[in-house]
Symmetry: C2
Subunit: 384 residues, 2 copies
Amino acid sequence: MQKVYIAGIGQTPVQEHWDRSARDLAATSILEAVEEAEIDKIDALYVGNALSGELTGQEQVAALIADFAGLTGTEAIRVEAAGASGGAAVRLGYLAVASGVHDAVIVTGVEKMSDLAGPLVEQALVTSSDEEYEAIHGLSLVALHAFLMRRYMHDYDLGRGDFGHFSVNAHRNAANNPFAMFRRPITLDQFQKARLVADPISLLDSAPVADGAATVVLCSKKVAGEGAESSVEIIGSASATDAVALHDRPDPLFLRAVYDSAHKAYAQAGVGAEQIGIFELHDAFTILAALSLEASGFAEEGQGVRLAMQGEITLEGSIPICTMGGLKGRGYPVGAAGVYQVVELVQQLRGEAGANQVDARLGMAQSIGGTGATAVTHILKSPD
Amino acid sequence: MQKVYIAGIGQTPVQEHWDRSARDLAATSILEAVEEAEIDKIDALYVGNALSGELTGQEQVAALIADFAGLTGTEAIRVEAAGASGGAAVRLGYLAVASGVHDAVIVTGVEKMSDLAGPLVEQALVTSSDEEYEAIHGLSLVALHAFLMRRYMHDYDLGRGDFGHFSVNAHRNAANNPFAMFRRPITLDQFQKARLVADPISLLDSAPVADGAATVVLCSKKVAGEGAESSVEIIGSASATDAVALHDRPDPLFLRAVYDSAHKAYAQAGVGAEQIGIFELHDAFTILAALSLEASGFAEEGQGVRLAMQGEITLEGSIPICTMGGLKGRGYPVGAAGVYQVVELVQQLRGEAGANQVDARLGMAQSIGGTGATAVTHILKSPD
């Protein structure tokens, strides 16, 4: 297997891009990443996208984006794993380079969500649940997470407001990220008073869907040359799944796919959770942040929220999460989120994170589909 | 890079499965393939599926199928490239094993199309075209291919009926395939009289959409052990793209993605078109069959239809195509088709093709998305 390096990154601001289409956003992030990478020959493009068919009537987006980005002819394949689509695309790019089949590939995550009315977006989002056993009963994706949060509050004697520490951290970090959707801090008091979406989940527990595209250029040592020494390296890459329907999981508060993918990635990288300095996790809802911390080995069962309450998830804490705003603060263009996470980790590991800079040698990015049926985890190492 | 072998195959009949869902069809083909492969440990599942979101409101199908097939927990990722989704999934499985990351993976193609009314299926199918420049004008996927066929007839002085040789061959071969949708031969006279869908394309130029699932188990030599000697091997794997919109291609009758993917696969396998003994091509429409033969090097420009007229594409000809019925005769469950092609090639190369057996050492399978924007080509070698 070849070592895999990240030679370039690119991203568009996450917002409601009323004047731009998915292909346009994707191409912008690709051109930026390719310019930085300074690689002449790109072998393939892998696109993470969750909902282009439902939201814009466009499938085969990988070929479309390749053409629009000036890569006509190249191998171009789209991967989909709901909210984990971006992570899955990075995984595919990793496989293509690690195999030696390719030496330089582009991984782009993109989602264009603003063109549809809210209820139609909600209808699209719930396709990540089990259609025949969950969505068919009228359950929304928020409602499914509300079940999880309610059960967690009951089991561990917590109030709704205790989850606010996740959102306060995310918004605080987003304030310094020029690509973030929400650049204003929020307070615990605001969190407490936020409008409920599906009790106990409020607007401020929920990451906002939006438009955006992010890109990383992956390459082998052969292509990176001496630049490899100054490049971030992917030292762990793993993906795992769980039952899609919540009722099919023996313990719905245990994210088995997260546990499996994180621990497979640790094993490959030869490290443990205690060596990870930054964790870009999938905070589509605050409850997912808590459960991800637990299943990934940063907190004991039932202690994820308490870790946040103790301030350990902030930039100054023992395991900073969502350092550039996370899904909650940066915004959540669904299929793009997993690539944004990797882009932000690279910024951190290169020391380019500005006011949010964390001193870390290893970072982890984790992308989740639906209520946890798919999880993809990558561990990145800073240049030596 | 590790060598990649095909250790097991499975398929459901292609038909309107009113009583079965996508996950059920997929699991059936998986269990069959895994039983044949006799491999204890499966590392991942890659699913080719084009339209599950549009047709059944279900995304994240890879995790769903993994769970339903008894593979809960495994890596499971879906790839989409419109009609080339099945081929793209085989490509991903190939990368995963060739890289040494995995030693045994399952590749499944599945599509469930019967539950929606015809116009809605047509609306789903056209998502493979360029939504902003083609579909938005009301063009259907058939209409786009009608442009190609009409232009071809004009340039090369051919009649509509001349294309009938493709369909007659496909139906003749499907008659002996117990998994095929249409098990009755047709005549050139019937072809001539068939009802037009979008002039000059008739019902008998067009492959029927349907339900079905097909699976191959790919493994490394380490897992195959001595069985490698009696297994079909993948010796070429390549994918390429072209502009999605027809008007963006300098010559719409030249399938550039097909040319590129075929010739990259030839280069990897160290062979030329003249050494390929069977060609499972993507005959969604007869015009695509003609253009694929040309771009893949089996016929000169404008000679694809004449090759068929001369009988060279039949089981007794110089380059048998669609030997088990092709998309036209076996049926076309969109995202599954590319895997069906590989399954059928394995049957041929193992000598298990019954009445349709062709004597060949090398076979090629080629999967196309839309009017040719994505093409994935695999070259398989029979056991020595």
